[in-house]
């Protein structure tokens, strides 16, 4: 089975948590809050496109808004297969990290 990439995983969790208000700007902000890293713009569209193609998320367009220079927003929503994929990766993560404690990771 093909696993999600790390970027896809982060974007997918963001969409899940944003619950229907996920679009480019909010996803980016969310990622900044969670990881503390600022992603460049193009960087989030790449995983978004791939996730769309895999069928893990769906797109819907809003009406144009003035603060966006009259351009439409595209909202993203997670699908059931998307949730399954996240579930799978979560269990796997937990399995992988189970026996790893902070004390093992400490450097001298």
């Amino acid at each position: 089975m093909k696993l999600l990439s790390r970027a896809e995983e982060i974007v997918l969790t963001a969409i899940l948590l944003l619950k229907g208000t996920a679009y480019g700007v909010s996803i980016r902000e969310h990622i900044f809050e969670v990881t503390g890293k600022k992603w460049s713009f193009a960087l989030i569209y790449d995983p978004l496109n791939k996730l769309t193609k895999k069928g893990f998320i769906t797109k819907s367009e809003s009406e144009p808004t003035p603060e966006r220079g009259g351009r439409r927003k595209v909202y993203y929503e997670i699908t059931d297969p998307g949730k399954t994929a996240l579930m799978e990766i979560k269990t796997m993560h937990e399995g992988v990290w189970e026996k790893i404690t902070n004390s093992i990771l400490e450097t001298k």
Binding site: Y23, G24, V25, R28, S40, F41, A42, L43, Y45, D46, N49, E61, P64, E67, R68, G69, R71, R72, K73, V74
Partner: protein, 845 residues
């Protein structure tokens, strides 16, 4: 007020990389963030932030675009390949024609590049000039020995100068002897010209009078692998030369050709170097930042200021070193050939491109359904144009690869033809590489743009409804065909005229006999025993006549002051002269106009002169020249005969006045032996053994006069050969295109032909139906091509003083040839179309 909107250019830039459907989303997101940023940190920082975002994003977006379009690209590639495979004939004409055109361009480009690079490698090249001397409208490269020292003394603008006087002399190291191309130069030579030193260095190369510098090739020939420095070479069996340096072989892109270099005093003698006699060319180097035109004005009258005795003025001039290969002193400038060949390359490429465009637009209807389907499936016009241009660019790149293969295969043949050593090296030759890529892209885009616009404008609905589309670009195709026909006819006419003129030169009666004459260069030793040798040789079988002269009739160039009745040594005229032995006129079969040739029966003949008709015209003797007074740099004598004019120098020049006299003591002297055509090899062996017997130390070497003559026109012949090859190629490519066009036309009209046949049309009616259009175009092209070719060729012909007039038949023949060739192609296709059963064709509907 500070602008609050996002930077327009950055937005535009970003939009180039976005697909249409994601345009709104991404730009909108970015815009929204920009607004937030403006609130947070002010418009200026927001501005920079926006730019930063755009620049970071572009590489990623490009990656994404490629990925996204990859799928489409595969589809395009597939349909391109299918199209190539389905219409093999057309594809062959398209790709092969273009490849041949491009190959031709590559070769010509290489050649032009090589010609333009002549003598570019000298570091001081910008400051180097060849001295020219002009007299009576003729310009010579020879200059007087005393000129360079005089110039150097009088004008501080001149940094240094050197002679470059020619001599072909016997050189010897131990028992190893052969003739070498010697050039006599002053010690300044290596301060002026840049050469790579293999042994020794430029500073010490000429520190002593008898120092000699030889090329690598010569070093190998004399000494093999031994160290050449300090070795002694014997020159002309008299002078010893010490090798002080070895330099690289002459670069192929230099007009300075030599085997060995030494000081002129060694061969000419110190005394001659102070005289105003001319033996060879010379070069000057000006100081930095000196205005050449000023120097030219100053030195122009140097010779006239010193020698005031004559009305004949000698004007000194300077020719930039880098111009020498491109501008001849007299006759046709070689740069003309560069223009001519560049035009041919352009014409061939044009013809090939026209084929490409014509066939592509013509075939566009065949692809109407594909286009319609793509449109229905949602392809935009922009996408279709991209697809078709991409397709032609792909085809041109295939053609380019083929062209590279073809040109590297043809290069040895071409080198042989052009007598050059060109090599095709794409990595080193970045100008060529970029040029080729640009040409390919440009050809691809230009030939793709028109068909792609036509094809993509089709309306899907009408295509599906009619299944038959009026093909677009009819008028354009006609214009292109006329251009193509015109180029082809012009090339055929030019080729015919050039080969005609060359044939005229080769076969024209020069006024003297050059067949079966052996030319033997001599040396001092042979000269002393010449009379004995001549007697011995004449007693051999197969030898018809023996004579000797300072110059062969082909290369008479030395001049001397002369005067005649009514003039004096203070009022002289300069004329070419030949010093010769008895039997000169008999050996070369020259006819006398008045009087007799030199003869032993008249004791005083060594004081007498023979002149040619051109010289007679200058004197006031008119019809009675025999017995009248004449003088050339010594006592006055009389004219005993006038020889009929003959074409000694190249037919580019008028016949010059020449004086002949009996005198055998010049340093350069050639023996001429007229032999019978039977047993030529045996006769030559005989000559060699007789010479060996009489003058044992002499090294026998000979040429045939006929070959020497051909050499004089080598440039013209070479040009003619190259021209013929390339225009043949152009004609073939053009025919290929025509065949493609005609067969397409015939194919389109099969239905019409079928119906006409049913109604009762005969084959001839059908033939005229198809051919009418093409023949009209071909005739129109003739109207344009004739004056064009006449104008171009007239200019070339004008560079010959003697030429074959351009005959009207050349034009008629070329025009007819193209018309007939068109007719044949058409007939073949038309008959094929006409003999098909109408039922079969109409049934397919």
């Amino acid at each position: 007020m500070i602008k609050r909107s996002s930077p327009g250019f950055a937005r535009w830039l970003l939009a180039r990389f976005l697909l249409r459907e994601e345009f709104h989303e991404k730009l909108g997101d970015l815009e929204e963030c920009f607004m937030v940023e403006v609130e947070k940190s002010g418009p200026i920082r927001a501005y920079f932030w926006y730019w930063g975002e755009v620049i970071i994003s572009i590489p990623l977006l490009i990656k994404e675009t490629i990925y996204g379009e990859g799928i489409m690209l595969r589809n395009y590639l597939k349909s391109t390949l299918r199209n190539i495979m389905n219409y093999k004939g057309y594809s062959f004409i398209n790709i092969f024609g273009l490849a041949a055109g491009l190959a031709c361009c590559i070769l010509i480009l290489l050649w032009v590049q090589h010609e333009l690079s002549f003598d570019n490698f000298h570091e001081n090249g910008e400051r180097l000039y060849r001295i020219t001397v002009e007299r009576n409208g003729d310009t010579f490269s020879s200059n007087p020995w005393a000129l360079i020292p005089t110039l150097k003394n009088n004008y501080p603008e001149i940094e240094c100068g050197t002679s470059f006087t020619y001599a072909r002399l016997l050189t010897k190291y131990n028992d190893n002897d052969f003739y070498a191309e010697c050039r006599m130069v002053f010690p300044d030579f290596f301060d002026m010209f840049t050469y790579k030193f293999i042994n020794g260095n430029p500073r010490s190369a000429f520190s002593h009078l008898n120092d000699v510098v030889i090329t690598e090739e010569m070093a190998l020939k004399y000494f093999g692998s031994a160290n050449p420095i300090g070795k002694i070479i014997q020159l002309d069996n008299t002078t010893d030369l010490k090798v002080t340096a070895v330099i690289e072989n002459n670069p192929s892109n230099s007009h300075l050709k030599f085997d060995i270099l030494f000081h002129p005093a060694l061969y000419m003698g110190e005394k001659r170097l102070t005289t105003w006699s001319m033996d060879g060319p010379g070069y000057l180097m000006l100081r930095e930042n000196v205005d050449v035109d000023e120097v030219r004005d100053k030195i122009r009258n140097t010779i006239n200021d010193i020698d005031t005795r004559t009305n004949n003025k000698w004007y000194v001039g300077l020719q930039p070193l880098r111009d020498i290969n491109l501008h001849a002193l007299n006759g046709t400038d070689p740069i003309l050939y560069i223009y001519v060949f560049s035009s041919i390359a352009f014409a061939v490429l044009l013809i090939a491109c026209i084929n490409f465009v014509n066939l592509s637009t013509a075939r566009s209807t065949r692809r109407a359904k594909e286009v319609a389907l793509r449109k229905v499936a949602g392809a935009e016009r922009k996408e279709l144009v991209k697809q078709f241009i991409g397709e032609t660019v792909l085809l041109t790149f295939i053609a380019m690869l083929l062209a590279l293969l073809m040109s590297s295969l043809m290069l040895p043949y071409f080198n042989n033809l052009a007598s050059r050593e060109l090599s095709l090296n794409l990595i080193d030759n970045w100008i060529l590489t970029t040029g080729l890529i640009l040409i390919t892209l440009l050809t691809g885009i230009l030939s793709g743009i028109y068909p792609s616009l036509v094809i993509s404008s089709f309306q899907p609905a009408s295509i599906f409804r009619n299944s038959f589309v009026k093909s677009g670009g009819h008028r354009l195709r006609k214009v292109l065909l006329v251009i193509q026909f015109t180029a082809t006819i012009t090339l055929i006419i030019s080729t015919l005229i050039i080969s005609n003129q060359i044939r005229f030169i080769r076969n024209s009666n020069l006024g003297f006999d050059r067949d079966q004459i052996i030319v033997i260069p001599t040396n001092n030793g042979l000269r002393q025993k010449y009379d004995t040798l001549k007697k011995r040789l004449l007693s051999e079988s197969g030898i018809i006549n023996v004579t000797a002269a300072s110059q062969a009739p082909l290369e008479i160039s030395a001049t001397n002051p002369v005067y005649w009745e009514g003039r004096s040594s203070n009022d002289y005229e300069m004329m070419n002269f030949v010093c010769l032995d008895y039997d000169y006129f008999e050996t070369f079969g020259m006819d006398m106009k008045y009087g007799r040739t030199f003869s032993r029966e008249f004791g005083a003949d060594s004081m007498n002169y023979i002149i040619n008709e051109a010289a007679l015209k200058l004197t006031n003797y008119k019809e009675q020249p025999v017995g009248r007074m004449f003088s050339m740099w010594r006592d006055e004598g009389e004219i005993v005969g006038v020889v009929k004019d003959f074409h000694g120098t190249s037919l580019h020049n008028e016949i010059r006045p020449i004086v002949f006299m009996l005198y055998q003591n010049l340093p350069y002297f050639n023996m001429f032996v007229k032999v019978s055509p039977q047993n030529l090899t045996a006769t030559i062996e005989n000559i060699e053994s007789v010479i060996k017997d009489v003058v044992p130390e002499f090294k026998f070497e000979y040429t045939f006069m006929d070959d020497d003559f051909n050499e004089q026109y080598q440039d013209e012949m070479r040009i003619a050969n190259i021209f013929e090859s390339f225009s043949t190629l152009a004609i073939i490519i053009s025919c290929l295109g025509l065949i493609g066009m005609v067969s397409y036309m015939a194919e389109r009209k099969t239905k019409e032909i079928a119906i006409r046949k049913i109604v009762g049309a005969s084959h001839s009616v059908i033939l005229s139906l198809i051919s009418k259009e093409f023949i009209t175009l071909a005739l129109l092209a003739n109207l344009i091509a004739w004056p064009l070719a006449y104008y171009l060729m007239n200019q070339w012909i004008a560079s010959f003083a003697y030429s074959n007039p351009i005959g009207i038949w050349v034009f008629i023949f070329s025009g007819l040839a193209v018309v007939i060739q068109t007719l044949i192609t058409i007939s073949y296709q038309a008959i094929k179309a006409a003999s098909a059963k109408p039922v079969e064709i109409l049934k397919a509907e």
